[in-house]
Structures are given as structure tokens and as C-alpha cells.
């Protein structure tokens, strides 16, 4: 039997206010095997850890139970404390009496009773714990960044600057992402392209950075330090090594009826195209669905006009398999589809546009050459209405429950820019709240109102009705004046909610990274580990984790890079010792465990065993510790119970069940 010590944490009043910690200590001393129990204000503190160390050494403890906060919070802390006292760190079990007890129960007696039971379960488990030793695995010193927007570019640059090779995989023909579509940026109003393009160029030129555009991640296997990734390089139909980027092919291409993705479909592009002038790489791709040559076999003009002979209709998709130590997800966002918001007449009127479309209209390289005009008739608008929170902060299932965070600021920016350039245009903004936390943000908003005379109305718009004369009738409410508003507008701009790039779900599944109900990737800890996914070796950069503006995205990109660098800087990683093991005397060699192992960690070998005097050669399952991640799928598949999971063994879990049901 173990010599067990039980340490009950008050967590200030977080636990002690609802759980009678003294009682837990007293009850612990009644448990067989428990030779020491004490309570303390903050077990995780230096002094608390010292108490643990002292007790381990003085009482010669062989296992400890800490009744405290979630093991997800401080298991590592207490394992460290145990290890420093000479105890194997895996002889520590945590009874979660804070998140799972004191914080959710109000009645002291009830909470104490539950805390005692949770303590007993942990004691019962630790009684069966065995010292475990982590193994080692190697680290491939190369990082993968999925997504080539500002988040991905920044992360890649930071990692590359630290001396590690990085690959960027970008789905579209060019890196740049959403930021490349923006005209100006708040709150400084500097030109988006002017600050982004140098970064794109830098990334492209960086000796440590390798960019795969027009490519997608197809398969991910392996684990932290040793991922194997298949990247599909879609056929560009243009030889990157030959193309000079002269652009003649795009000019001569007769197929020019495809809506431009970059310009949000506001104008058309050719079948062979680069998304925008500053695209990197400056090599076009042929959209095979639009290309006449691919559709009919006739045409081939681009090939004829290309002096470099770069056009290659025969090119095929290429799968590149590469190993990485760390993966950063920077898949960014898109605007939500507005199908559910028919009342705003987005699909009925060309003059109802989204904010991102407005960005393109305002941009000199955009569909109107930077002139603010109505897309329906090309006339200059005199009256513009902005509607905030379209699909954000939504109570029902129509939109998103969250605040998209950037809309208040960019709307102020748009309003200000319009008023600045076209002082005769009236700008009205319907809002629920104006949210401006951020450096110089509120000042920026106030300038819009005070200096530029933008008309802010607190209230929502119920309906936008296109009138036969081409005007738009906006029906709204002014909540401050408590009155209905009917307003004629020439243009309506919708601040549509942003949502994670729809492809992120596929990528999260490949990476086994968890994702929340809104498809944002979940961070390992909301406060303390905001740029790490719970999946080791996977980091989060930019809006894939939650709505962010550019400065926040860039900071997070840097943070993700640092985490990745921290990982790549290690030569070896300690592996989780809670792996599966097969008892060779019980194993049937039936292969069922290998069938369910997601990591291919189980192989079989013919081995001579000595089963209580019977010597025979048997087919036995063997688990590769470095590959096993400890899910336990095999343990349940194994009918004889030969396969068991260290740290979560059958008997340990049963002991917990018994203790709870006792």
C-alpha cells in the first residue's frame, strides 16, 4: 500500500468559502493509505509547494493527492513540486474541488460532501499509480504556417528570423489575405497596401521562408515535433520558374467574365489572372473552369502570347510531403453570407453593399478606380447609411452570438474617409453600441462624430426598401429619441459579421485541434495560453482564434511565432508517458487494437513468452511509445484486457468509480 499525503487548498476563499477544507483533511486521514493530510491557503504558492515537499520527505510519501483547482490548471505545478521532493511526478493526482465543486455549489454541506468524495476517488486512484518515466521524441526543426494573410506572414517572418525554415501554405494564388483587400487602416488611416506589401516582399525573399500559394493542406499525421503533412499544390498551369509576370496573357485572355474574388465580385477578371497587382508570387494561374482552352480545347492564346513559354496546360496537381515540428494555423476570416438578412435588400439592390465591398470601391485599384459611386447607376451618392452589427451580437440563430470587434472602428474610418473626400455626402450610422477599446480608438471615433459630422443613431434598422427611383428607403428606430426613422439613402453599407474561414473546420479535424461552436479554434487556456491549441505543437495566429484587428493579429502572430520557436529550439521533447501497454501474457495478437489506433502505434511481433512455465512463440502487440498519444481506444477494443493505459489504467478508473459509488 502507498503512503499517501493529501493536500487541501483553500484557494483563498475560492474553495474555502464553500468547502469545509478542515473537514476534507479530517476525512482524508480516515482513508486507508493516507498518512498525512493538511490544508493551506494557496497550495500552488511557493510556500504551499514547500509544504508538499516537506511532507513528502518527512513522511516518506509515495503518492500525493492535491485537492485544488482543475488539473488542467496546476497539475504540472504540483508534479514539479513532487519531482523536486524526489517523488515521481506521476505519483500525483488532483482532486478538482474548485471548478467541479466549490465554484458550482452554494451549500457548504453539500459541497464539502462532494469534495470528500472527489478526494477519496483521487486517493483510490493514486493508490494504484505507478511511477512513470516520459520517453523522448525528436523535433523536426521546420514550421508550417497555414494561411498567408498578415497573421501567417508575420508568424512566418518571426520564425524565419529566428533561424528556422518555415513553409507558408496559401489557398489563393497570392499571399496577402484580407489585409490586401483593405484600402486604409484605422486609427492611423495609413494605406493598407503600403504597409502590407513590404512584408509580403520580405516573406517572399526570406531565405528561410518557402511559400506554397494556390496550395492546400491535404493530410496531417504525426504529433508535436514530428508532424508529416501532405500539401496539394494545385496545378497553376503556369510554370513559376519561367513566368516573368509581364501580364500580357491576362490582357489577351478572351475569357473575361469571371467575377473577381479579390474585388468581391464587383467586377470581372480574366481566366488567367493574378488576383491583384502586387500579388506574390507575381505569377498568374489559369482558372480551369473559366478557361476556354480547358473547356473546349480551342484557344491557347495565352500560350501563344507568352514569350517566356511559361504556360503549361498539362500541369497536374502535385502532392508535397514534408515534415514539421510545429504548425501555426492562420486561416483568417470571411464575411458571413447575408442570405438570412433579406430585410436589408442586399441581394436585391446593387447599392446595398458590405463594408469589405466598400473597401474595394474606395480603393484606387478597385472596380471604380477609387471613385465613390453607386454600382447600379454609377452616380455619386449623396446620402449613405451604415448599418452596424449585421449578424453580430445576434440573440437568435440567424447570425453570430459574438461581437465581430472590428466593425465599429472600420465604420468610423469609412465614414470619416467619405466625409473627408466628399464633404457633400451625408453619412448616417445605425448602431447598437459603439465599441472603441484600443489605443487611440475612441479618439478616432470622436473625430468622426465631432470633426467630420457623421450622424450616429443608436438604434437598429428594420428594413431597407429599394424604391423604383433607385433610392433606398431605410426604416429604422432611434432608441435615444424613441422614434421611428424613415430615411432615403443612395447607398447602404452593411457591417456584416466576420466568421472564421469555412475551411478551418477541415483543417482543425486534420490537426485534431478543437474548435468552438462558432468555428473559432479553441485556445489551450483562455487567459494563460491564448495562442496555443490544446493539441500540442499547434499554434493559433489571427482571426482563426477569435475576431481581431490588424495590430492584435500582428501581436498574436508574433506570440504564436515565439511559441513555435520555443518548440523548435528544443532538440528532444519529453513524450507523455501515459501510453498504452500490452501485457504479453494476455495478448491474443488479434490485431483489433491496431485497427483502431489513430497513430499506427501498434505493431505485432512473434515473440517467445513464458506464461507461467509454458514457453511458446506468440503473436504479441507492441506499442511504440513515441507514437502512442494515450487515447485509450485500443484498451477498450482489447477483449482480454491485455492492452491497458498507463496513468489511466482499468483498475485505476474502476477504483475511482468504486470510490464515487461507495
Amino acid at each position: 500500500m502507498q503512503r499517501i499525503g493529501v493536500f487541501v487548498c483553500h484557494c483563498g476563499t475560492n474553495i474555502a468559502a464553500t468547502v469545509d477544507v478542515k473537514k476534507v483533511v479530517e476525512m482524508a486521514l480516515h482513508e486507508p493509505g493516507v498518512v498525512h493530510a493538511e490544508d493551506y491557503q494557496y497550495m500552488c504558492s511557493e510556500a504551499g509547494q514547500e509544504k508538499i515537499r516537506a511532507a513528502i520527505q518527512e513522511k516518506n510519501l509515495s503518492g500525493i493527492v492535491v485537492c485544488s483547482c482543475s488539473p488542467r490548471m496546476h497539475e504540472t505545478t504540483f508534479r514539479g513540486a513532487a519531482e523536486r521532493a524526489g517523488l515521481n511526478p506521476y505519483m500525483v493526482e488532483i482532486a478538482n474541488i474548485r471548478e467541479h465543486c466549490s465554484w458550482i455549489h452554494k451549500d457548504m454541506e453539500e459541497a464539502t460532501e462532494k469534495a470528500v468524495i472527489l478526494m477519496r476517488a483521487a486517493v483510490a486512484k493514486v493508490n494504484l499509480n505507478t511511477p512513470l518515466k516520459p520517453g523522448e521524441s525528436r523535433v523536426t526543426k521546420r514550421a508550417l504556417v497555414i494561411g498567408g494573410g498578415i497573421a501567417g506572414i508575420q508568424t512566418a517572418l518571426d520564425i524565419a528570423d529566428a533561424g528556422y525554415p518555415v513553409d507558408i501554405v496559401e489557398k489563393t494564388p497570392s499571399i496577402g489575405g484580407r489585409m490586401s483587400q483593405l484600402d486604409k487602416t484605422f486609427p492611423t488611416l495609413d494605406c493598407s497596401a503600403c504597409i502590407l506589401t513590404p512584408k509580403m516582399v520580405e516573406a517572399n525573399a526570406h531565405p528561410n521562408i518557402n511559400i506554397y500559394t494556390y496550395s492546400e493542406v491535404e493530410k496531417v499525421s504525426g504529433f508535436v515535433g514530428d508532424f508529416t503533412v501532405d500539401i496539394r499544390k494545385k496545378a497553376r498551369s503556369v510554370d513559376m520558374s519561367k513566368c516573368t509576370g509581364c501580364g500580357v496573357c491576362q490582357e489577351k485572355c478572351p475569357s473575361k467574365k469571371t467575377p473577381s474574388e479579390f474585388n468581391r465580385g464587383l467586377n470581372n477578371r480574366s481566366a488567367i489572372y493574378t488576383p491583384f497587382a502586387q500579388a506574390i508570387p507575381n505569377v498568374p494561374v489559369i482558372d480551369r473552369e473559366a478557361c476556354i482552352k480547358f473547356k473546349t480545347g480551342k484557344c491557347g492564346i495565352c500560350s501563344k502570347v507568352c514569350q517566356a513559354g511559361a504556360i503549361d496546360y498539362e500541369q497536374e496537381d502535385e502532392i508535397i510531403t514534408e515534415k514539421y515540428g510545429a504548425i501555426v494555423v492562420a486561416t483568417g476570416f470571411d464575411m458571413i453570407k447575408l442570405d438570412a438578412y433579406d430585410e436589408y435588400a442586399y441581394s436585391q439592390s446593387k447599392d446595398v453593399i458590405t463594408s469589405l465591398e466598400l473597401e474595394r470601391i474606395m480603393n484606387a485599384a478597385g472596380p471604380t478606380g477609387g471613385h465613390l459611386e453607386r454600382l447600379s447607376d454609377g452616380k455619386a451618392p449623396k446620402e449613405i447609411v451604415f448599418i452596424q452589427c449585421v449578424g453580430s451580437r445576434c440573440a437568435d440563430n440567424r447570425g453570430k452570438s459574438y461581437c465581430s470587434k472590428i466593425c465599429c472602428m472600420y465604420t468610423a474610418k469609412h465614414a470619416m474617409l467619405i466625409r473627408d473626400k466628399y464633404p457633400d455626402v451625408n453619412v448616417t450610422v445605425f448602431y447598437i453600441d459603439v465599441r472603441t477599446p484600443g489605443k487611440n480608438f475612441d479618439e478616432f471615433y470622436r473625430r468622426a462624430v465631432e470633426e467630420y459630422g457623421v450622424n450616429y443613431i443608436k438604434g437598429q434598422v428594420g428594413k431597407v426598401i429599394p424604391k423604383p427611383d433607385g433610392k433606398l428607403l431605410v426604416q429604422g428606430a432611434d432608441l435615444l429619441d424613441n422614434k421611428q426613422i424613415l430615411k432615403e439613402a443612395d447607398m447602404v453599407v452593411l457591417a456584416a459579421a466576420i466568421e472564421p474561414n469555412p475551411d478551418v473546420r477541415k483543417i482543425a479535424t486534420m490537426l485534431t485541434a478543437s474548435i468552438d461552436t462558432n468555428n473559432f479554434l479553441t485556445e489551450a487556456h483562455a487567459k494563460l495560453r491564448p495562442v496555443e491549441s490544446p493539441t500540442a505543437g499547434v499554434f493559433l495566429s489571427g482571426v482563426c482564434q477569435g475576431p481581431k484587428d490588424i495590430p492584435e493579429t500582428v501581436s498574436q502572430a508574433g506570440a504564436a511565432a515565439v511559441k513555435a520557436i520555443g518548440l523548435l529550439a528544443k532538440d528532444k521533447l519529453l513524450t507523455n508517458p501515459c501510453t498504452a501497454h500490452s501485457d504479453e501474457l494476455l495478448c491474443n495478437g488479434c490485431s483489433q487494437c491496431a485497427n483502431v489506433c489513430p497513430y499506427g502505434a501498434i505493431t505485432y511481433e512473434e515473440k517467445e513468452v513464458n506464461d507461467h512455465g509454458i514457453r511458446e512463440v506468440r503473436r504479441i502487440a507492441v506499442v511504440n511509445d513515441a507514437l502512442c498519444q494515450g487515447c485509450g481506444a485500443c484498451t477498450v477494443t482489447c477483449p482480454s484486457g491485455a492492452m491497458d493505459l498507463q496513468g489511466f489504467s482499468n483498475r485505476q478508473i474502476l477504483a475511482e468509480v468504486d470510490a464515487i459509488c461507495r
Binding site: S70, P71, R72, M73, N96, R98, E99, H100, C101, W103, I104, H105, K106, D107, E110, A111, E113, K114, I117, L118, A121, R505, A508, T509, T512, S514, I515, D516, T517, T522, P534, T535, C578, V596, P598, Q629, G630, C631, G632, A633, T635, V636, T637, L645, F648, N650, I653, L654, E656, V657, D658, I660, C661, R662
Partner: protein, 147 residues
């Protein structure tokens, strides 16, 4: 019997929660102070696929009145496929329990992500209510384990 019946029924409920999603979901419920019944006791397992039918039967044998298994949403398993196996196993096991006459509400599987503290708390609420309505587990209990 009649005396026993009058006493307040406090069910014993075991919740197996996977480490990556549901246990974290339970933590979130905790830190968000979303209360649920103290009758629920959580056992942490690495993945819902670690839950052996033996554990569930053992809990019932020992007098548990309900057993709930929580894991990552299908598609979100930290180990890619664990919850898919768990889903099949539990479906078959629950079906068998139903077949031998155990009330089908005594067992449940729910997918709760790390971000779903509210769902965790609500699920536990509902489950406790269900078990309350079913009353004590007498069909699978081993009388020797009674106090």
C-alpha cells in the same frame, strides 16, 4: 420500503469526461459559476474512447443511478477518431441495457466542447432531473454493495 421512499432521493451519478473537451467544458462551467447538482461526480479520462463498458456496468453494480459519458463533438476528437469508436460502443451497450430491461434514461452520451460550459451545466441539470424521475437503480445494483 415505505420509510426509504420518503427519504429524499440523492442519486449517485458518474460522469466520464474526456480530458480535452468535456473536462475543460466542466472547468469552464465551474469558472463561469454555472451550477449543477452535486450528485454529479466527474472522472477524467483521456478520451471518450477510453470508457470501457465494464466501467459503466461496474458503476451500476456499485449503486450508481446514472452514468453519463461526455466527449468532444464528432469531428473534434483530440485523437481524431476516439469519439467515433465511443459512439458505436456506447450505442450498442445502451441498446443492450435497454434490451435487458434497464431504463434507457440511465445512460447518456453528450458531446461537450471546451467552450461549452453552458451546455455542460445544462446537460448535467437535465440528466440529474431524468435520474430523479427514474428513481433508484435497482435493476443493476449488486445488493452486497449496499451499506
Amino acid at each position: 420500503m415505505s420509510i426509504e421512499a420518503k427519504e429524499e432521493f440523492r442519486p449517485k451519478i458518474v460522469a466520464f469526461c474526456c480530458n480535452w473537451c468535456s473536462y475543460a467544458g466542466a472547468d469552464l462551467a465551474g469558472s463561469s459559476r454555472l451550477s449543477y447538482s452535486a450528485d454529479i461526480k466527474i472522472i477524467r479520462v483521456p478520451c471518450s474512447c477510453r470508457v470501457n463498458p465494464m466501467f459503466i456496468l461496474r458503476a451500476f453494480e456499485r449503486g450508481a443511478d446514472g452514468v453519463i459519458i461526455c466527449g468532444c463533438h464528432p469531428g473534434d476528437c483530440h485523437y481524431t477518431s476516439g469519439n467515433y469508436y465511443a459512439r458505436r460502443r456506447m450505442t450498442l451497450l445502451f441498446s443492450m441495457l435497454d434490451y435487458i430491461g434497464v431504463e434507457s434514461g440511465r445512460t447518456r452520451v453528450e458531446w461537450v466542447s471546451a467552450a461549452e460550459g453552458v451546455k455542460f451545466s445544462q446537460t448535467m441539470h437535465e440528466f440529474v432531473e431524468k435520474i430523479q424521475s427514474l428513481g433508484k437503480n435497482v435493476r443493476l445494483e449488486d445488493l452486497r454493495c449496499r451499506k
